[in-house]
């Protein structure tokens, strides 16, 4: 296959991939009309054909032109806009969905040149911040571990430059901007390890800012989390202020 969309491993990625495929078909049809019209005109009306001094500005012609354009506009652009609004507001950017689910896994992400830091709150449910340390936070470097079939809510920021958090297999992406907190949420439906990439040029090693998304069965995830936070507590160092880059979770970050 010359080119294909990545395999979708999420509950809602089809919203994007379906819209992409539908858009591609519409684009192909529009382009097909253009090419057929162009080729027919050039084959039929060559130098040997006497030109007609048609100015195309009679009311009937103008209305025809505007009418054709209006129909294409309403069908193609109209569906594009309504699809986009319903899918983003209803699901993809609707953070009320993960907020309402008691099982939602919340992760804070700190992007920096050139790696992804992931932070889970641990059993106490509180993220370790500069002012309020919490010793059981699970920190992972370039590895995001999540349970299958569970909402995962990410909040992301950057300490240095603009990055782009990108998981091809979720068809999801967001810019990550220092000074602000961005959000994403998804529900992985397939087990396995998938790539996380940086989408926004962030300096010399932009191309190496690669992480992994690991989707585990629910029980296995719980076991991993218990073990990881136990290890975290053992290794916790309250002197290390830099390690407490988390922030108090807000459902509506700035």
């Amino acid at each position: 296959m010359l080119a294909a969309l990545p395999r979708d491993i999420s509950a809602d990625g089809h919203l994007i991939s379906d819209a992409l495929r539908r858009g591609l078909v519409e684009q192909a049809v529009l382009l097909g009309v253009l090419v057929v019209w162009l080729v027919l005109a050039l084959v039929r009306f060559r130098a040997s054909h006497a030109a007609r001094a048609d100015r195309g500005d009679s009311p009937r012609q103008v209305l025809t032109t505007l009418g054709v354009v209006a129909v294409i506009f309403l069908v193609v652009d109209g569906s594009l806009v309504t699809d986009a609004i319903s899918a983003t507001e209803g699901t993809l950017w609707n953070f009320a969905v993960p907020a309402a689910d008691p099982d939602t896994v919340r992760v804070e992400v700190n992007a920096h040149q050139w790696a992804w830091d992931f932070r889970l709150a641990g059993p106490d449910g509180a993220f370790s911040t500069r002012d309020a340390p919490s010793d059981d936070d699970v920190l992972a470097w370039n590895e995001l571990v999540v349970p299958v079939d569970t909402p995962v809510h990410l909040q992301l920021t950057s300490t240095d430059v603009v990055h782009g958090f990108y998981v091809p297999n979720l068809l999801l992406k967001t810019d990550v901007v220092p000074g602000t907190v961005r959000q994403l949420w998804f529900r992985a439906t397939q087990l396995g390890t998938f790539e996380i990439g940086c989408a926004q040029h962030c300096g010399v090693n932009h191309y190496k800012m690669r992480g992994e998304l690991k989707v585990l069965p629910k029980a296995e995830y719980q076991a991993w989390l218990r073990e990881a936070s136990k290890v975290a507590r053992l290794g916790a160092d309250r002197e290390d202020v830099g390690a407490r880059w988390g922030w108090a979770w807000k459902e509506r970050p700035r």
């Binding site: 994007i16 519409e26 529009l30 162009l38 652009d77 810019d175 191309y207």
Partner: protein, 566 residues
């Protein structure tokens, strides 16, 4: 008015718009070659990542000719900047704007001839700054052509190279604004008697609206560049944020707003003159009036008005307020309406014409096709939903190269092949030009279709070695094939270089009006026109597209001049 004597006054420090046009043309073509060379290096890296580039062992001595990541990021940064500000802008606006505006509206020169010369020399100064950045310690800019802070700030990009590049952008902006004011004034004030707004060639409309946008929005780019320079040189923090500045930071998103308020009109700045040229040429070589001329003009005006209301689609993923995102999406799709009117008018102009496949016509037809592809592939980027996936992938790169690179390049070639006889008084070899068109058109399509395919598969932009990612590894054969098409594309430009220079000195002498069209530069001035353009200023009596009308047939011809008499 007599021409100044002496080589320097006549050819170097000239205030003649035709000479300045040629200065812009030659300077722009040199930068085009540089930008093209950088593009080839990018393509090399995607086909053979890390392998030494043949012939670059001395230029990249530290790595024995291989493109290292720091060199790579400078290459794609300077490729974008060079092409947009130092190649397309001078060729399309500097050269054709200067040459055509006075000649097509029936004026003896620009409204402000000295400002015109200043505009060129300021442009040249900015080019020197740009080239100087290559020799700076730590190298030239590597922050991408968009120069997003904090990466382009003092912590993200230390070193004087980035400062020089931002300064160069600022200075070239000054040059563009000087040109823009001059062009706008010229079209408003210096039209010949009878040259009403709706008798202007569409080319003039395109250049005029481009200049309006330049005057309005290049200053915004200037403000962004200036604030960035303050951040870099004087420790301000307008655009700084994150650990390096702590709580006293500014807002990196503010820069993106300023940049794209300019940046989106900029893509129309670059395409409007091409749309104008194509609208005229399809009529000229279809020997038929331009279909719904006023509709075309209204469409160009609508695009101009909307151009700054759509810029937020570059920022869908930075966390805009949802209402703002929707508003930008609405305006973005709205701009496709005038775009479609334009394409419909072009196709209807060809219909029932008497189409002559001269080199300028072929390039114009090629422009229609690649612009069509570029236009429809933009739909997926206009939608908030589909952009989530396509944002920052090669789909974006393919889309804007089809519109801004392929369409603008083919459109500029159409213009150059059409007006070459008028500019230089000699004809290009049309058989060679046809072959050059064939190679260029097919290969441009292959190269940018290849990028669309890689983007569809999810490949991000600006990766020094894309194959660090497992999901991109299968795309190596595709990228390699695309690169080979790009190398052939570059090689086939030698046909043009040879044709250009050979015709310049040895070409057949051109007649005053070899194409039999009615606009003033062809009907009322010899090839090339004298210093003062017109012996007497013509009085215009009709529009630019009077082909195959009954009145023309009654005169035993198929075209009528815009002005009667000598």
């Amino acid at each position: 008015m007599s021409a100044p004597q002496g080589f320097l006054r006549r050819y170097v420090f000239s205030v003649d718009h035709k000479v300045i046009a040629k200065q812009f043309l030659f300077a722009g073509l040199v930068f085009l070659a540089l930008g093209g060379f950088l593009a080839m290096l990018i393509r090399w890296q995607w086909a053979y990542p890390g392998r030494p580039v043949p012939g670059l062992h001395t230029l990249l001595a530290a790595s024995d000719g291989a493109i290292t990541p720091p060199v790579y990021q400078s290459i794609f940064t300077l490729h974008g900047l060079t092409m947009i500000f130092w190649a397309i802008t001078p060729v399309l606006i500097g050269a054709f704007g200067n040459f055509l505006l006075p000649l097509q509206i029936g004026a003896r020169d620009m409204a402000f001839p000295r400002l015109n010369a200043w505009s060129f020399w300021t442009f040249l100064l900015s080019g020197v700054l740009l080239l100087a950045s290559f020799f700076a310690q730590l190298g030239t800019s590597g922050a991408g052509w968009t120069g997003y802070p904090p990466l382009s700030g003092p912590t993200g990009s230390p070193g004087v190279g980035q400062t020089l590049v931002v300064a160069a952008v600022f200075v070239t902006g000054v040059s563009t604004i000087m040109g823009g004011i001059n062009y706008v004034t010229t079209v408003i004030r210096l039209r010949a008697p009878g040259m009403t707004w709706f008798r202007l060639p569409v080319t003039v409309w395109g250049l005029f609206l481009t200049s309006v946008l330049n005057v309005l929005f290049v200053p915004v780019l200037g403000s962004a560049a200036l604030l960035l320079l303050l951040d870099r040189l004087f420790g301000t923090a307008f655009f700084a944020a994150g650990a390096a500045v702590g709580p006293r930071g500014g807002d990196p998103i503010l820069y993106q707003h300023l940049f794209w308020i300019f940046g989106h009109p900029e893509v129309y700045i670059l395409i409007l003159p091409v749309w104008g040229v194509v609208s005229d040429l399809l009529s000229f070589f279809g020997r038929k009036p331009a279909y719904w001329y006023r509709g075309t003009v209204y469409a160009l005006i609508a695009v101009t008005v909307l151009s700054a209301l759509v810029y937020g689609h570059h920022m869908y993923q930075v966390g805009l307020h949802p209402l703002l995102g929707k508003a930008f999406m609405f305006f973005t799709v709205l701009i496709s309406f005038p775009g479609m009117v334009l394409v419909m008018n072009w196709l209807s102009t060809l219909w029932r014409g008497s189409n002559r496949f001269t080199p300028p016509m072929l390039f114009a037809l090629g422009t229609v096709f690649v612009f069509g592809v570029g236009g429809v592939t933009g739909l997926s980027l206009a939608g908030l939903l589909t952009d989530i996936y396509l944002h920052d992938t090669l789909w974006v790169v393919g889309h804007f190269h089809l519109t801004m690179a392929a369409a603008v390049f083919l459109g500029s070639m159409a213009a150059l092949h059409f007006w070459f006889p008028k500019m230089f008084g000699r004809e290009l070899n049309s058989r060679l030009a046809t072959v050059h068109f064939g190679f260029t058109f097919v290969l441009l399509c292959l190269v940018f279709f290849g990028q669309l395919l890689a983007g569809w598969s999810g490949q991000q932009r600006r990766l020094a070695d894309p194959y660090q990612y497992d999901f991109i590894k299968p795309l190596l054969p595709l990228n390699k094939a695309t690169s080979h098409a790009a190398f052939l594309l570059a090689a086939s430009q030698l046909l043009f270089v040879w044709n250009f220079f050979h015709s310049l000195f040895r070409g057949k002498k051109a007649e005053a009006n070899p194409w039999n069209v009615g606009t003033l530069e062809w009907t009322h001035a010899p090839s090339p026109p004298p210093h003062h353009n017109f012996d007497t200023i013509p009085t215009v009596v009709r529009g630019p597209h009077e082909f195959s009308t009954d009145e023309a047939k009654a005169r035993g011809t198929d075209w009528l001049p815009q002005a009667e008499g000598p």
